[in-house]
């Protein structure tokens, strides 16, 4: 999926992740670096290589989103394989707090995350305008007004597009779940 989406893969991605990690650690200690700064810095450092490899990643934003989505997928996959491994090691996952919360806990959440990715794969090319809203809301954590400003459309439109997208995606996830 990553390749189709134009994700940086292999060495570059690993590099990106390592950098993000190191910066995150620093951020965590000093409480000065904002998440946006973080990705900005990541972008600045890695731009030469990004430009060389990925035309479409020329903006900070694109890098940001791509990285974030990648982190999410990674995380979700880890959740699932961890659960499996705990069982493999003869340990009851129920004994671990993060598998205990409602809605089936983290495991279900992780599975849904992966399905969301799958849903987005259909969603992005089908609804490019909606995709922009989703990107901003999801992966940049923009508010409705911020989003409206960024996209140059009315807040009401943003609101409607967002809700419609959510509905569609949730429906798609459910559909995939029943598969």
């Amino acid at each position: 999926m990553g390749e189709k989406m134009g994700f940086p893969s292999g060495g570059l991605y690993a590099e990106l992740r390592a950098l993000a990690y190191a910066l995150m650690r620093r951020e965590n200690r000093r409480h000065t670096l904002s998440p946006t700064d973080l990705f900005h810095e990541a972008y600045v450092r890695l731009r030469p290589r990004i430009e060389e490899n990925f035309e479409e990643l020329r903006s900070t934003k694109a890098l940001f989103i791509v990285t974030m989505r990648r982190i999410l997928i990674d995380h979700a996959r880890r959740r699932i394989s961890r659960e499996k491994a705990l069982r493999g090691a003869g340990l009851d996952p129920q004994r671990f707090s993060d598998f205990l919360d409602a809605n089936g806990g983290e495991l279900r959440k992780a599975q849904r995350l992966l399905l969301l990715e799958e849903a987005l794969e259909t969603f992005y090319p089908s609804f490019p305008e909606h995709a922009k809203v989703v990107e901003n809301r999801f992966f940049q954590r923009m508010t409705i007004p911020q989003c409206a400003t960024a996209l140059g459309i009315s807040e009401a439109t943003v609101q409607r597009r967002w809700e419609a997208s959510e509905m569609w995606l949730i429906d798609k996830i459910r559909e995939l779940e029943q598969r």
């Binding site: 190191a22 961890r82 705990l86 089908s126 609804f127 909606h130 409607r160 959510e166």
Partner: protein, 1226 residues
Amino acid sequence: MPQSTPQRSVLVILETLLGLDSLEEREAWIRENLSAAPEIEQEIRKLLSSGSAAGALDDLVPTMEQLGEYLRDLRGEEIGPYVLLEKLGSGGMGDVYLAHQNTPIKRLVAIKVLHGDLDEQVEIKRFQREQQVLARLQHPNIAHIYDAGKVDSGYSYIAMEYVNGLQFHEYCRRYNLSIRERLELFIQCCWAIEHAHQKGIIHRDIKPSNVLVTQVNQVASIKVIDFGIAKAQWSDTYSEESIRTLGERVLGGEILTEGGRSPGTPPFMSPEQGSLDPHMVDTRSDVYSLGALLYTLLTDCEPYDWDTREGRSVDEFIKTVKTKPLELPSKRSVVWASQLRGDLDAIVSKAMEIEPHSRYQSVSELIEDVNCYQHELPIRAVMQSPWRRTYKFVRRNRIALGAGFLVISSLVIGLLFSIFHWLRARDSERVATQSRVGAYILAGSLGLRQGSVQIVKDSLVKSSKDSWVPTAVGSDRVQRLDWRLLNSLQPNQSELLGETDGKIYFGLSIPERRELVVADNRSNIVFMDAETPGMRRLEIVAGQKDINGLALSPDHRTVASAGDDGSVKFWDVETGQLQRTLRVSSEHVFQCKWSANGQFFCTAGNEPGLFVWSVPNYELVHKLPSSEIDLECMDIGPQGQLVYGAADGIVRIGSLDGLDQQVQSLVLTMSRVTHVNRCSVVLFSHSGDMLGVGLDNGFLVLLRRIAGVYKPVERIKFRSGVTSLAFSSDEKRLAIGDTLGNLHLLQLQEHWPMTSTINFRRFYLEAHPSVFLRAGQEYASLWDYVTKATQGATRESVSGELDRVELELNDYSLPKLQYNENYVREWLDENGEFHPEWVEFPTFVQFKEKGIELHFSERFSEWKEAGKLGEQFSLRSWGPHRKRISGVFWGADETSIKTLSEDRTVRSLELRYSGAGLVQQASVDNFIVFNGDRVMVNGAGGGALVLNLSDTDSRPVSVENFDREIAAVIYPTPGHPDVVYGWRTPREAESRRSQKFFRLNTRDMVAEPLTSMPVIDSLWQLLGVVSRERLVLFYRSGESSEDSSLVCWNAQTEEVEWKIGVSGEKCFVRPVSDCGRFIAFVIENTLHWVDVDTGKMIRIELELDNRELACAFSPDSKYIVTSLNINLLRCYRVSDGGLEWSLQVAGPEALDIDWSQDGQTLVAVGLDGVLRTYDTTLRQMTSEFALFNSDRGIEKVKLSPKEDWLFVKSRNGSLYRIPCKSLGDH
């Protein structure tokens, strides 16, 4: 994906609908617009019916904080065969996770993950180094490393043994351990660190959370973890600059904040770790951290408070540490103040000294002191009052000293005893706290002789029941020893525990049951109570004819007996029930044992070969080949090493991990003339680092594991066959039982065995030499007194200054010292002057290798000073004249020679092997330096090479590819500086006519056989080099020992000057007279000397058996004096062999003799280590001086030309220099 219009419209419609406020409006809109497209209507209705979706995805998509969390949280990540499960902690280089491994083995591991590879060069290098570092560590108390590598996703990892245990300090508190128990565990921890140090690794982050305690078989066991910031001491794989880069770029100031500061945890971090210079950190930094750990264990608080909340920087903290005196543990402890006061305060303070050089210089020194404390011996840490020391000494040696007390004035006795009682009352407290010492300290100890089991309990510490002493009293074989802890030997304190019907061949102890299990040759197995004489819990009639061996399973639930009927039977320890019978061979099974991990069971028997069986099904998995000769003994080491010794005297070492791999074969036959020696016992030490081999001919060979290979480091000859061995738990002592019923105790030195042998019959003399040596001068008077008291001597106390220059010529060179008298050659320059600073000093290498430059140079400067004095002297007869050489030389390892030149630079010369199959196992300790700048290395595996020291690119050249060692090399003659003569040991099977003597031109490295030598088909011995031109050789020319010859060969002319036939086989002494005209030797009972000029020989028949004797020519070569083992010195005229005088010596026979320049005084050293001077005119003893206490005695003694110094070399490899004025004869 193609864009589908219906799809697109669905969302647009939906959006429109959402723009409508009420449900009614939406319904109306749908009906109005979608009635024509039912599919879309259905779709829209479905979407709408799923209810409001607002916020449903928010739950899935994380916030920024969560995202950061996700980045850090690697749980679930698959790295190689591992899946990370839980985070265990964060270390310097990355996070540590609990992980599950699925293939090839299912197990839990601890895995350290280095996240990311931003600066690949630096990071990965450092990580790889860590892997290499950890891979070098193999110790039961260090978490094992399983695997390391880097996976495609970019993670580097190290998979380690998962230790399920409590942190050290928490464990101590939870189980409310006593001081003694805490110290026991602490010592385990120290051994682990010491092991790492020996491998050249500094831990650098020792703290309670890095030391875990697990329960192994109900016994607490230490596991040191997180060698994460461990540093290989000589590693230069990352420069200071790269550290800085690393710190700045990757770690963002978290760990390596300021430049090259070494990571560590402040309250446990040594002050020098806080400095900016990473080179300041050495093994003594770990000593500091261990001290801080001990502090915490004893006081329940950290040595200095470090409050991170105040944001104090490490610098400030270090400043506090450096300026504020350490609050003594006794002041901090609430519960143990009184016990901590004194020794423990001192030990902790010494370990935590600010200056590294004030601390214990090694972990083993710290261990030694803690051990001393545990055993109530004096510690080195503080200058105690003399009375306190005396008290301890008396406590340990009450009986031995009994007689001695009688000769002391009553006043002194009164004083001593009143103090004694006072201290004793104090000490009863300590005993009370020690009574809880667990079963793991208590170990049954037994000495077994035929039919009886004897136990000797040490009465001094009997109340704490932590120390039993094995011995065998009587004249029978000591058949088996099982011994964990030995404090002292008290021959008079034995107790008969019980007897069996038949002869006992084997026994073992079950510590937690406090039982001994013995088996006799009538096939009975008896479980005896080790504490109550006569008490037997179980008696089993095994029905196996004889029982040759017993083994205890690792879980201590099963005892296996190896029988003469070819079977092994397994018995339940609890009930005595037969569990299983294993048929091994048709004849006898000699021994059996489980591997430490319980996975294998091995049997040795007289069906040639060693059988390895799998547990629990006992299927034969492997048959290790051996010679056609019966296997006599075997042992399994803690890491699965397998050793087996056969009746052919060959010991083979393999591994249970690699059964198919080739085994290491060691031929331990000691002498070229002795016969085949059977191996009677092999035993690994508890850590597996040492291996003891006992031979039937009385030789004990100690091997040490060096780079994974066991190498002999010490050979000791006992009077009778060695039957049993036992290492003490701290591996500092070795008990040896012999066929005469003697028990010997060996003191093993810190790094290398050993300096002294203790025979328990003379134990009072030898009580605690290490204490004596350490205490030095202050102790000397007491020492003297003890010696006198026990010997009943009446002489005056001599308490002269012992101006001692100690030179530890131990490790590799020790065997060489014993067998090759040429060891001092390199110490002399062309004028024959002695240069102590040239002396090979392998111990230096130890330090050097560990990177402790300071040690090296400190010691060296000490020698420089000694050298200044030494320049005035010559040790004339210590070797032929040497060319001046430019430094100290030593063989650092198997492949290099190191040199220390006068400007103190150290160079390493690598020995590069050419493709010609040159030196297979070059033992570089065996080399000579000649012609100023040439080094010739004799390869033990055959071959030789010559290096040019001044040439940076020395190209070694093959001399000849011998398959045996080159026995000796003769130095170049004045006329031909490039020519070296030598010969090699002949091979047994070699043609009798083969030529073994060669001449080597080191210019072109062409070696030619020398035909001018008579064809000699048997043993060569170099009697001596009488001058630069002439050498005298001894050889046997025929089958019969009667046909031996002496030949004088002239290297100048390459011709034989004369040849004399002599009878006899063994040849011992070979002094050369000062004028180089006479050479003396002893063949069997006859003393010979030869006038080399004329070939005239004089023989003196001596009334003694062939013992190694001393003799010396007088400076004017008119007289020769010899020492006889009937305590006589006899002086003969050299010219005609007439007896000039004879003199009774005090004490045992002299081992070495020398004359003063004026011929007036004779100096002789005795077997008892006492140096005596005799006046040759008055013919009486003029003085005596107890030099060194060791029954290995003194080997060499030489007077300086001005006779103001005496050089003495003890047989343990120490060199002393004694001012003559203290001898009282000048």
